[in-house]
């Protein structure tokens, strides 16, 4: 009999909730119309898209007209940042000025690489703020990076690797004050991809102008996301084509996925508080057991300012890919920041930004819990982890000592 598989990689992706799937199903072959079509088929699809938009607006406490559907968080982040920069260059008053973007060094690659590509093309100057050792961005560093050409600040709500929660609402308030005395208003964008499941995402409270989210991290489908764009925020579209999404995002609507995203958010809203409490308890149990029972084990990132489902450990004298592989052979799915598990052969930029040495980053392991994770599963994983780490440490001997 094949082993029962345990999935502890919910920050990578989540399964589509059955209720979400059910809501989506009619929109594949039955109500298949193109929302841009005028006839009844089109109207049916358009109605579904607008209904989903309303649900999303309720979740973020914004107007439905402030939601733009995209293909996912990567596209949302691209649109937010590149769209703002593109708009900047269309305004005559900005002639001869290069805008400054402020972000941080532990963003997801879709934000970092968007910024890098703008830098490379000579379209923006970018300041990358380093977090403190706990993985938290300090407002004073944002304040110090602001100059008169600053166009946008982009700080993720929750880090995808170490799960640290950034002080978005406080940054929002700070920028609001700052903007009161400025000619050029600074836009505030946050990538909320990892936050939606557990945290308050009221855009009024957060004080953001732009917020990105993704469907597949919240038990919705892959290939769909959205960008909240506060009314009056100046953006230029980055993809040309039809007039969908108030000309901000060309391309036929992915109707079933949009319906799924709406349903997924509706469920999150209903069940969030209960799931958050249960998940955090389980996660704390996992952390406590690992740190207590596995020698030379450490938690990466702040223990307190942390999303309820994330645990990110490092273990001395163990390499993460070997660890991941051993767990995978036992049917347990996790992830690591080790270079050996990445195509780039570079260890996690997030762990290095915390000040960890390469060999420490190589020995890291991320376990992210989901809404169906049980205590029994956690127990099983910790028990296996203990045995595996002991075995790998035996194999590695004390070779690291030769380099110290």
């Amino acid at each position: 009999m094949p082993k029962k598989r345990i999935y502890l990689d919910y920050a990578a992706t989540t399964p589509v909730d059955k209720r979400v799937m059910k809501a989506m199903t009619p929109y594949f072959s039955e109500k298949f119309g193109n929302p841009s079509s005028v006839h009844i088929f089109g109207q049916e699809a358009s109605k579904a898209v607008e209904k989903a938009r309303e649900k999303i607006a309720v979740f973020f406490n914004c107007s439905p007209t402030e939601i733009i559907f995209t293909s996912g968080a990567t596209e949302s982040n691209n649109l937010a940042i590149k769209g703002a920069v593109k708009k900047f260059y269309t305004e005559p008053k900005n002639k001869g000025i290069k805008p400054r973007l402020i972000t941080d060094s532990i963003e997801h690659s879709c934000v970092l690489n968007t910024c890098r590509s703008l830098e490379k093309e000579g379209l923006a100057e970018v300041v990358y703020i380093a977090p403190n050792k706990e993985g938290i961005i300090q407002i004073k560093d944002i304040a110090a990076a602001i100059n008169e050409n600053t166009l946008l600040v982009s700080i993720m709500y929750v880090n995808n690797e170490i799960g640290t929660i950034q002080p978005i609402a406080t940054i929002g308030k700070f920028l609001e004050k700052e903007n009161a005395n400025r000619k050029r208003k600074i836009l505030f964008h946050t990538d909320a991809t990892q936050a939606v499941n557990y945290l308050d995402c009221d855009v009024e409270k957060l004080g953001v102008d732009l917020l990105s989210l993704s469907g597949h991290k919240i038990y919705g489908p892959k290939g769909v996301g959205a960008l909240y764009v506060k009314k009056g925020t100046l953006l230029t579209r980055i993809q040309d084509g039809g007039e969908q999404e108030r000309k901000m995002r060309a391309g036929t609507h992915n109707v079933p996925a949009i319906v799924g995203l709406g349903k997924a958010l509706e469920l999150v809203m209903k069940e969030k508080s209960k799931i958050a409490i249960k998940t955090e308890k389980l996660r704390d149990y996992l952390i406590a057991r690992v740190l207590k029972e596995i020698p030379q084990s450490y938690l990466n990132g702040s223990a307190k300012k942390r999303i309820p489902n994330n645990a990110n450990f490092r273990f001395d004298n163990v390499e993460g890919e070997g660890l991941l592989l051993s767990l995978d052979l036992e049917g347990i799915a996790v992830s690591t920041g080790s270079a050996c598990a990445s195509r780039s052969l570079e260890p996690s930029h997030v762990l290095l930004a915390l000040g960890l040495k390469h060999e420490q980053a190589h020995g890291s392991l991320r376990l992210t819990l989901g809404k169906t994770t049980t205590r029994k599963e956690i127990d099983l994983v910790v028990n296996k982890l203990k045995v595996i780490i002991e075995r790998l440490r035996k194999i590695s001997g004390d070779v690291l000592k030769s380099f110290q």
Binding site: C340, H362, G397
Partner: protein
Amino acid sequence: MQYSKEVLDHFTHPRNQGKIKNASSVAIVGNPRCGDIIRVYIKVGKNKKGEEIIQKTGFETLGCGAAIATSSMMTEMAKGKTLEEALKITNQNVVKKLGGLPSSKLHCSNLAADALRKAIKKYKDEKEKNKKVN
């Protein structure tokens, strides 16, 4: 990571793992930065023809699945070979015996034969030095 059956077998059941007592030579390759470090132990003896052979091997490896599997396979391949034969073992030979490695692993995690050659050369150099002293 898509590993061959052979790689997984050597990863889960590494051969000749651990230090060996009275090793004739020990060598270490790799560095903590890239994540893979291999230490190889060899014990040199003589065959019936009086040629020097690798009698025993051992290894300690900190690294990914591929690094552990290549270390294990290398120690198997080297055992019983004369020093001259063993010097001819290349990283490529080791990978071939394992039924291949994912392309991203071919470079950094494939150092086992380098470690073996380093250990043999060290052994030979020591011997040469001792000769001169005597």
